[in-house]
Structures are given as structure tokens and as C-alpha cells.
């Protein structure tokens, strides 16, 4: 059994961790390229959203390399993601591939389905229940550490003195965390990672912008589809904060440990604009945009795959958020034909707008101080 899993941000690091914990036979899925995108778009239904097409393309590559078990996520609606596995299985079978598709149901569907779907990858004879629960818990802790490192890097990248020093620290810290497996090792790794970040020289009083990054998790996390916006913004003195992370999505108690605002609080903030769960990351997108606006961020960038149902609703509502809270919001919908230049031009315009807003408010404040 050779397992392949879709790529998404830190997910490959997490899978590598699980592979070592449970001694799985694993094959790294090829990265997203123009070519895998083309294959995916050709096979997938026309109006399917981007993640399905993208992942399908890499699955074809993985099967060609010898994988025979494809693992993907499930769910029970209303987002289309819950049905991806089934459609991809049917398409790939039609193409004549011989494989097994394992759909990992999230615990929200039912704990039984969650357990059973995990057991179809990690059999009972190999790992007992206690070990499984403990190791999964430790994996989750590790995901949390990795995402916290990411969050830190996003905040500091715009303020670094030596270009690239934050990225070096991030890579070192990720390496340190990847080597940790037990509880003790993880807590030591966290301290070591923190120490590594403290070595980076930061210019704290540099004029900068604060930009929130919200949207659908796949396009926000996967650098191939968001054109590596995190580094692009970091080079332009922008402090970035991201509302979606893998550990927030996996957190069983909906506390959003990385973002810092639990789900009920996000829902409360979103309520005047979107007062019901719409599946996917829709409510989080609206709620976190409101939170960013209240915290005085200069702009919010919203990424969505073309025709993504929850995010399209969020996009329709975000116009009102932007108007009422006076914060520019840029919605960028990504599909297989989106060009880098178009996205960057729009982002540049957004940053210019944010800088001029900031200058205006600073000017107004200075005038106020002169009068009093």
C-alpha cells in the first residue's frame, strides 16, 4: 500500500510526521505545476472549483509514480469538498487507473466514521487505539507549533533588517520541530524555535502596513495558487496576519488556537453581515475580516477559488463590511487561468490605497494634536 495525499501548505510536513509515527508506506505527491493543472482541468467537470482540478492533476502524477492508495478529506456538506473524493475516484477509474480511494471523514460527521476512515489507512493490528489517539494528539500539537511558526514569520517578514533572515529562521525552526516527536521533545522544540526567531534582527519602528489574509484554505495556503503572496507582501514592508490555518481547521473544539479568536467569537463578529454558517471557510472569512477591521488593519486580501460557494457568499457580503468599517477589501478569485501580473497589479493598487489612507489618518491626527 503506497499512500499519496494532496498537498496544501504545511500538510506535507504533517504527513511526513504521521508517516514516521505509524510507519506508513508513503509517496510524496508531485508539486503543483502548470502541467498538473492542465491535466486536472481537462479531466474535471467544467464548473468544479479549483482545488478539485488541482488535486486531480497531482493525483494523476502520483498514480503514475506508483501510488495505489489516495487519501483525501471528506465531510458532510454543504461545501462541495465533501464530494471531491467520490468524483475524483470516478474520474480516475474512468481513466483506467487501479487504486483505492480513502476518504477521511472529519469528526464532525460522526466519531465512528472518523475512526473507521482512519482505520482503513492505519489498521487495528498495526496500531492500537490508545497509541493511535495519543499519536494523533501529538501530531495535532506539532501542527500547532508549525502554524505558530508560520504566523510569526508572517508578522516579522515585513520588518526584517536583512532580507531573507526570517525565512532562514523559519526553515531552521521547522527543521527543529520536524525532528520532535514526543511531548517533551515538542516543548523543547518550541523553545528552541522561539530562540531561533529571537536571533533575527527586526526594525520595530519601520513604517509598515498591516494586512489581513482571509479566504478559502487551499488557495490561501498553497503558494502556487496565491502566487506566493506572503513573500510578495513581506518584501513590501507589510505585516501579514492570516485567519485560516490547518491547525485551526483540525482543532476539535473550534478554539482556533492560531488565529486566537474562537469560532463563537468569529460568528458573533460576523453576525451583522452574515448570520449563519455557510460551510467551508465562509463565516470565518467574514468574521475575521470584521476582526481585522476592528483591530485597525489597513486592508484585507480575500482569496477564493472561482465559483467556490461559501466564499462567493462571503465576497458578496464583504463589500458591505468594507463600506461600513472603512477598510479596503480586495477579493481575488483564482482559477486555472489567473495570471500573476493581474493579481500583482491589483495588490499594488490595494497597497497604494492603504498607504494613502494611512497617511491621511496620520495627517489628521497630527493636525488634531497641533490644535489641542
Amino acid at each position: 500500500m503506497k499512500i499519496a495525499v494532496p498537498r496544501m501548505g504545511n500538510l506535507s510536513l504533517i504527513i511526513k510526521d504521521m508517516v514516521q509515527r505509524f510507519d506508513l508506506d508513503y509517496l510524496e505527491t508531485p508539486p503543483f505545476t502548470e502541467q498538473t493543472m492542465e491535466i486536472g482541468a481537462a479531466l474535471a467537470p467544467e464548473f468544479a472549483c479549483l482545488p478539485l482540478k488541482a488535486v486531480l492533476g497531482t493525483f494523476v502524477g502520483a498514480l503514475a509514480m506508483g501510488a495505489d492508495t489516495l487519501v483525501t478529506g471528506g465531510g458532510h456538506g454543504p461545501c462541495r469538498f465533501g464530494y471531491y473524493g467520490e468524483i475524483q475516484r470516478r474520474i480516475l477509474e474512468r481513466e483506467g487507473h487501479d487504486f483505492r480511494m480513502v476518504v477521511l471523514e472529519p469528526p464532525s460527521v460522526s466519531l465512528r466514521a472518523f475512526h473507521d476512515s482512519i482505520r482503513s489507512v492505519i489498521p487495528r493490528e498495526q496500531v492500537g487505539f490508545g497509541t493511535l489517539a495519543r499519536e494523533l494528539y501529538l501530531t495535532l500539537s506539532k501542527v500547532l507549533l508549525l502554524d505558530m511558526l508560520d504566523k510569526r514569520a508572517l508578522q516579522l517578514r515585513g520588518l526584517e533588517v536583512v532580507a531573507g533572515s526570517v525565512d532562514e529562521a523559519l526553515a531552521d525552526a521547522q527543521e527543529i520541530v520536524s525532528r520532535a516527536f514526543t511531548r517533551k521533545e515538542l516543548s523543547a522544540a518550541r523553545k528552541e524555535g522561539d530562540a531561533r526567531f529571537r536571533e533575527v534582527e527586526i526594525e520595530w519602528d519601520r513604517p509598515h502596513l498591516k494586512v489581513g489574509l482571509v479566504g478559502e484554505i487551499f488557495v490561501v495556503l498553497e503558494t502556487f495558487f496565491n502566487f506566493d503572496i506572503e513573500h510578495w507582501l513581506g518584501r513590501r514592508n507589510v505585516v501579514v496576519e492570516r485567519s485560516v490555518t490547518i491547525s485551526d481547521t483540525c482543532d476539535p473544539f473550534h478554539r482556533n488556537p492560531v488565529f486566537g479568536y474562537p469560532e463563537h467569537m468569529v460568528a458573533r463578529m460576523a453576525k451583522p453581515y452574515l448570520s449563519h454558517e455557510v460551510g467551508g471557510d465562509g463565516l470565518l472569512t467574514v468574521g475575521s475580516s470584521v476582526i481585522f477591521a476592528r483591530r485597525g488593519f489597513d486592508a484585507v486580501v480575500h482569496f477564493l477559488p472561482f465559483t467556490c460557494m461559501p466564499e462567493v457568499i462571503a465576497k458578496g457580503v464583504l463589500g458591505r463590511v468594507s463600506q461600513e468599517l472603512e477598510m479596503p477589501v480586495l477579493s481575488l478569485s483564482i482559477d486555472e487561468q489567473t495570471g500573476k501580473a493581474g493579481v500583482e497589479t491589483r495588490l499594488e493598487a490595494l497597497l497604494d490605497l492603504a498607504w494613502s489612507n494611512k497617511a491621511k489618518s496620520l495627517h489628521a491626527r497630527a493636525e488634531l494634536q497641533a490644535v489641542t
Binding site: 456538506g77 468524483i87 476518504v103 449563519h276 465559483t307 457568499i313 458578496g316
Partner: protein, 318 residues
């Protein structure tokens, strides 16, 4: 007080019940006019450009109501069936309506959630009735009437008997697309003119549809799409239609998944031909007519040749 109801989206499912609810409460209900080309154009201009066609049509109806009513009733349909959910667009519809233009009339959005315990959501309808000025007695009777109607929605028996012979075409698509004659460009009438009898998924017994939907290898979790897929499978397995038209709208999320699923499933079962028709606001009649003619001609030819229907599905957008 004049309460508006847009003649779009789930009005075509539950409209009667909502009107009855408002009548019992004792307020005047205004239903927007039938969809026209103008409705679609204004809706498409004001709504978000990525939303699906039905939401654009809905926006057009909302804008028509804007000047004419004091408040609009847009129920938030979260699930239509126990254990299923609705399309996310239905869940966010009242919020989309509110942010359409800055000067929208107030939108009342009581929750309709057949999958949830009713005491959790019926209360919202009661509050709505009271907010509209109903007495507690009329409000209670309005809500109980609504619940009665909703729980018996699928219970009514449908006559599935049909005479043998003649060409029958199954039209599988969202009720708000198929029954809106402007959106579907009079598809049902056109099929009749071509000498075939259109059958819609309303004419399939609910239990039969669900039983067939359960045979799929992975359960469809959208309530309406589950019935749609089940109906298509029921038609093809009982051989009650000669061909199936799958009608979806541009950027329909569940439609894109279920369409691919049905094409594959019917192909595996070597069943009747399936043609996909995609509707959008730019759709031209000539394109639709040509496709329908070709499809019906193909079915006629197949039945005349007494060949077993093959399963090569043609697809394309209109």
C-alpha cells in the same frame, strides 16, 4: 404593511406555504412579477458577478420589490430533509439580499431547517409573525399551519403511471430553473412542440427517488440534489423515459458535482442517453432549440431502430 416575497429560488418549492403563513398572520403579501429579461439584467448587474444564475435572478426580483414593499421575507433554508443540508447559497441568501444595495428594505429571515429539531427554528417564524404585527393567536396558528405543510410536503402521492409508447424525456433540474419559463426559455413547451412528453422530477415519488439515491456509493448531502439524482436513477432503472435532459445553471456548485456523477453513473449502468444543458444570463434561444431538436431526433431515431439505447451522453452549454 406590505410584505414582499421574491418569485425566485425556493419560492418555487415553498411559496404557497409562505403565502399561507402571511395570510394567516394577516398582512398583505406581494409576490414579485414573473421573471423577465429585465429582471435578469438588473439582477446580474447588481449581484456579485460570480454567483450562479438563480441568485442573479433572485437579486433582480429583490430590486423589483425594493420600491414596492415595506419588508421582504427571505426565509433562510438550511436543510430541506432530515440528515441533509441545502446549498450554501440558500443559507446565505438573506445576507446576500441585505448587502445587495445600501437602501434595501428590512429583510426578515426566519430559519427553515427540516433537519433540525423544530422547536429550535419554529420560534423564529413565530417571532417573525409577531414582528409583522400578528396577534399571538394568529401567529401560533400561522406557524403550526406552516409546520403542517412542510412536514407533509413530500407525503402527497404522485401518479407515476404512464401510458406505454410515445417519447418521454426526463427533465432533471432545479425547480426554479425549469419552471421559470424565462430562465429555461420555455424548455418544457419546446419539448412538447417537438413531439415528446417532458417529465419533471416532481412527477417522481419522493420515496422512490430517495431509495435510488441511497444506492450511490457515496451519499449526496444536498437535499434537493439527492432527490434529483435519485429521480434520474429511478427513470433510467425503470426505463420510464427515453432520454434525460440534465438542466443546470452557470456556476451551480452542487450541479457541477451531481452532473459529473450522473454522467458517470448512467454510463456505468449502460443506461439512457443524458444531455447536459447549462443555462446562463447570456443563453440564446437558437442554441437551445438546436440542441433540443438534435436530442429529440436522436431519441426518435433510436426508438425507431429498436436498438437498445446506448449511453453516449452529449454535453455542452446553451
Amino acid at each position: 404593511m406590505r410584505v414582499g416575497i421574491p418569485r425566485a429560488m425556493l419560492y418555487h418549492h415553498y411559496g404557497e406555504y409562505w403565502l399561507q403563513f402571511l395570510e394567516t398572520v394577516g398582512v398583505e403579501a406581494v409576490v414579485s412579477e414573473e421573471t423577465t429579461g429585465n429582471t435578469i439584467t438588473t439582477g446580474a448587474v447588481h449581484a456579485d458577478n460570480e454567483t450562479c444564475l438563480p441568485v442573479k435572478v433572485f437579486s433582480g426580483h429583490m430590486l423589483w420589490l425594493k420600491e414596492r414593499v415595506d419588508v421582504v421575507l427571505v426565509p433562510r433554508v438550511v436543510s430541506e430533509e432530515y440528515g441533509m443540508c441545502a446549498c450554501p447559497k440558500f443559507m446565505g441568501l438573506p445576507d446576500l439580499a441585505r448587502s445587495l444595495t445600501p437602501d434595501m428594505p428590512p429583510v426578515l429571515a426566519p430559519r427553515l431547517d427540516m433537519g433540525d429539531r423544530r422547536y429550535l427554528w419554529a420560534r423564529e417564524w413565530y417571532d417573525t409573525a409577531r414582528a409583522l404585527g400578528g396577534s399571538w393567536l394568529s401567529s401560533v396558528s400561522a406557524v403550526s399551519g406552516l409546520l403542517q405543510n412542510l412536514y407533509h410536503h413530500h407525503k402527497s402521492l404522485v401518479d407515476e403511471s404512464y401510458e406505454k409508447g410515445g417519447l418521454r424525456v426526463g427533465v432533471a433540474g432545479h425547480v426554479y430553473n425549469v419552471y421559470d419559463s424565462r430562465v429555461s426559455m420555455g424548455m418544457l413547451d419546446r419539448i412538447r412542440k417537438l413531439g415528446a412528453t417532458p417529465v419533471t422530477i416532481d412527477e417522481v415519488q419522493h420515496n422512490n427517488a430517495l431509495a435510488n439515491a441511497r444506492t450511490l456509493s457515496r451519499e449526496i448531502f444536498w437535499g434537493f440534489e439527492s432527490k434529483l439524482a435519485g429521480s434520474v436513477l429511478h427513470w433510467s432503472r425503470t426505463a420510464s423515459v427515453s432520454g434525460i435532459l440534465y438542466v443546470t445553471s452557470f456556476a451551480c456548485g452542487p450541479g457541477s458535482m451531481v452532473g459529473a456523477l450522473l454522467e458517470d453513473q448512467l454510463d456505468r449502468e449502460r443506461s439512457v442517453p443524458l444531455m447536459t444543458i447549462t443555462l446562463d444570463e447570456h443563453a440564446a434561444e437558437a442554441g437551445l432549440v438546436t440542441r433540443l431538436e438534435a436530442f429529440v431526433d436522436m431519441l426518435k431515431y433510436a426508438s425507431r431502430a429498436h436498438a437498445t439505447p446506448s449511453a453516449d451522453g452529449a454535453s455542452g452549454g446553451a
